[in-house]
């Protein structure tokens, strides 16, 4: 029997590690976005798939190109750039010109992510920030909403929140339509049910913690309930459900606000983060210039994350009292 005394691997314990890695995490999140992609394709047609594919490819290309240019270790294979591309595509109208989307991909990967040091180092969520950059820079393109296929005789339409901002509660689509997704809007945001399925799967698989989505959605619901009860416009319960289903709340709460890098680490911090997102969203929706506030609220809370992390120091087991 041969002896082994010079070529054995000597490494620190533990010698077993979990099978879950960054790449698998990102791929699971992307898989959980697929139900929404399917509904969007049904509602808006195949351009949705084209936009998503282009955005994913572009983000991966920018990530690869930056690393190649700076001779850094390639990080394309961790799929986080692909996820950013997918999320950004979900945040645009189905009719957006492809070159505009490419500008957004560049902003997301190069400006927001790589200039701050790449994966794990970015301060704010790349997809959300790129969406806001597009929204402000290309206001017309970003607010031209193609009509859903199953709404008769229209080439373009307004989003439910747009309708609400005009002040006509009576013209809003029914909450069932909102839930299923047969409405105008950024194509990945329209179907609450598809996003809910994906989001719950993420929670079940323990990829994300339920704290942020629960606090975010709960705050939006409670805020709307109180607001409409006090002002007496419409039925408070119906309007509260409407606000949860409308716009980017579902996509934002489950997929964007829960981004590991830009959300707080500890449970208490996550509660504050989720509630903050919900409050900001409703304040912008009800009193702000824009009809929708999910992106801005997440961006703002992203900026506050380091502060929240510092504020909530966890008491250690057996540690000194602080």
């Amino acid at each position: 029997m041969a002896k082994y005394n010079d070529n054995l691997i000597v490494s620190s314990s533990p010698h077993l590690v979990t099978a879950l890695d960054t790449q698998k995490t990102m791929l699971i999140v992307m898989a959980c976005l697929l139900p929404s992609l399917v509904v969007s394709t049904v509602v808006f047609g195949f351009r949705v798939i084209l936009l998503t594919a282009v955005s994913i490819a572009a983000c991966m290309f920018f990530e690869w190109g930056w690393n190649a240019l700076l001779k850094r270790r390639q990080t394309v294979s961790d799929c986080s750039a692909a996820l950013t591309g997918m999320l950004l595509a979900f945040n645009v109208p189905a009719g957006l010109p492809i070159w505009t989307l490419l500008v957004g991909d560049f902003a997301a990967i190069i400006v927001v992510k790589q200039l701050f040091g790449g994966i794990g180092k970015n301060l704010v969520n790349p997809a959300i920030t790129a969406r806001i950059i597009l929204f402000i820079s290309f206001a017309t393109e970003m607010t031209t909403w193609p009509a859903p296929k199953y709404v008769a005789d229209a080439t373009s339409t307004a989003t439910p929140l747009g309708v609400l901002a005009e002040g006509s509660i009576a013209d809003l689509p029914s909450n069932m339509q909102m839930f299923l997704g047969n409405i105008g809007g950024s194509f990945g945001e329209v179907s609450a049910v598809a996003l809910l399925v994906g989001g719950l799967f993420l929670i079940w698989k323990k990829i994300i913690s339920p704290i942020i989505p629960c606090c975010f959605i709960g705050t939006v619901f409670a805020f709307a309930l109180i607001y409409y009860a006090v002002t007496g416009q419409g039925d408070p319960l119906q309007m509260a459900i409407f606000h949860v289903l409308a716009g980017g709340v579902m996509l934002g709460a489950f997929f964007m606000a829960t981004d590991y890098v830009t959300s707080p680490l500890l449970a208490k911090g996550k509660v504050v983060f989720g509630i903050g997102c919900g409050l900001m969203t409703m304040v912008i929706r009800l009193w702000g210039q824009y009809p929708e506030g999910v992106s801005f609220s997440i961006l703002l809370m992203n900026c506050l994350t380091p502060l929240i992390n510092d504020f909530f120091q966890k008491r250690m087991y057996g540690g000194k009292k602080k």
């Binding site: 620190s12 010698h15 590690v17 960054t22 590991y260 680490l265 057996g318």
Partner: protein, 437 residues
């Protein structure tokens, strides 16, 4: 009190050898007995080249307080005293003995008379050479003699065996039940303890059932089994105290300060064995497993047997080993050579092939928080690792790096494969060097 259980992780059990009855390994052609098999001062060899030694003969001892004597596991001729690299990275003195395979028992081995009081009991335990066999190898005689003996009321027997692969404690409970119960009773008698808990993870229902049955048959009511969740690291001392008593145990505090004597199940069994036979600790039950081993099994090997010979007894290597561990995969040590000898606290030898051995490439932290959720002590390993990388001793101290027991749960769950536990170990030295207290 806070939560019922401390955080833990689910690690696949791989208890492949749980059903393998222990086989006694024949005496090998050479044994190398280390003179430092316990925490504390190493022993001085009491024999010289050319001496003839017998089984159970004391061949190493020291005057130091924290120490345990060392006995020959074989009869044969001392071939020499050599210095060799140890698994911990330093150098050890080894007594090399060529066995004559007659296994002549030394005259020193006599069944001890019944001790009259605690002092005599402790003296006998020291003579047995017992150390903590769960891994820390703290001399057992010192544990049995706490300073605050009047405040100590409980015996906690650690039979959690939360490390994957290892089943030696499990087999010990099934095969040496009599010695285990005798050991418990002796310790409880001399230390005047009220209650004994044998803590077993619930993935060993047969052991729990078996012990309950035997305890009932014997009519023993002051010793009970205590079922633990089968999650890692329930067998860690400070975690176990919390699980049993619900009390927070700080780092650097002794179990005696928490009102209990806490010992590994094999240690307690060996106490019973020693007072029955007078044979000191010269052989050890261990699990031999891993995908590079042809016939994984549980064996009893003489202390000082080379790892190479242990694996040879288990059918040799099935494929080329790239990593050999002394101990379990979570906290065990990777050894550089298979010519190292077995020491007292070895409870497993695991040999892994290339696919199972490669260290995964470290990627950037994505701040997912899994390390923090896994940590039994609520530490924030990712923040500790960042502080270590900045060489920031004050931040490491403020984040309680010294509370870390290096269980490796954080490294296990990290999707970026960062060596978080290892960085904490290094972080502790940074704090120490900076002199922060």
């Amino acid at each position: 009190m806070g939560k019922k259980h401390l955080s833990s992780v689910h690690v696949a059990h791989y208890k492949n050898t749980a059903g393998c009855a222990t086989e006694v390994m024949p005496i090998p052609d050479i044994v190398k007995i280390s003179m430092s098999q316990h925490i504390g001062a190493p022993c001085q060899p009491l024999v010289a080249k050319g001496d003839y030694v017998k089984v159970g003969q004391k061949i190493g001892d020291t005057e130091a307080f924290v120490s345990a004597p060392i006995h020959s596991s074989v009869s044969g001729t001392v071939k020499g005293i050599e210095q060799a690299r140890s698994a911990a990275g330093g150098y050890d003195t080894l007594v090399v003995i060529e066995p004559d395979k007659k296994q002549e028992i030394s005259e020193e081995v006599v069944v001890p008379e019944e001790p009259k009081d605690l002092a005599e009991f402790v003296k006998e335990v020291r003579k047995s050479g017992l150390v903590g066999l769960g891994g820390a190898s703290f001399p057992t005689s010192i544990k049995f003699n706490p300073k605050n003996i009047d405040d100590v009321h409980y015996l906690v027997v650690n039979a959690a065996e939360c490390e994957p692969f290892i089943t030696s404690d499990h087999r010990c409970m099934l095969e040496d039940t009599e010695d285990l119960i005798r050991g418990c009773q002796l310790i409880m008698k001399y230390d005047n303890l009220d209650k004994g808990y044998i803590c077993i993870e619930d993935n060993k229902p047969d052991a729990i059932e078996h012990l309950n049955k035997v305890l009932k048959e014997k009519g023993i009511t002051n010793i009970e089994t205590f079922s633990l969740q089968a999650r890692y690291p329930k067998g860690a001392e400070r975690v176990l105290v919390y699980e049993v008593f619900g009390k927070v145990m700080n780092a650097g505090v002794l179990p005696a300060d928490m009102g209990c004597i806490l010992d590994n199940v094999t240690t307690v069994t060996k106490v019973g064995h020693y007072f029955r036979t007078g044979v000191p600790l010269i052989a050890k039950r261990m699990t031999v497993d891993g995908d590079a081993v042809a016939e994984p099994k549980n064996i009893i090997a003489p202390i000082g047997t080379l790892v190479h010979d242990v694996i040879g007894f288990c059918g040799g290597y099935k494929q080329e080993p790239r990593k050999i561990l002394m101990g379990g995969p979570m906290m065990g040590r990777a050894i550089p050579s298979d010519e190292m000898p077995i020491v007292k606290n070895n409870n497993a030898i695991l040999a892994f092939s290339k696919e199972k051995s490669l260290v995964k490439e470290e990627t950037a932290c994505i701040n997912c928080g899994r390390c923090h959720e896994a940590c039994p002590f609520n530490l924030i390993p990712t923040a500790l690792a960042d502080a270590y990388e900045r060489n920031d001793a004050q931040a490491l101290f403020d984040l309680d790096v010294n509370q870390c027991m290096n269980c490796g749960s954080c490294s296990y769950v990290c999707p970026a494969h960062r060596p978080l536990g290892f960085m904490n170990t290094l972080g502790k030295t940074v704090v120490k060097e900076a002199g922060i207290k």
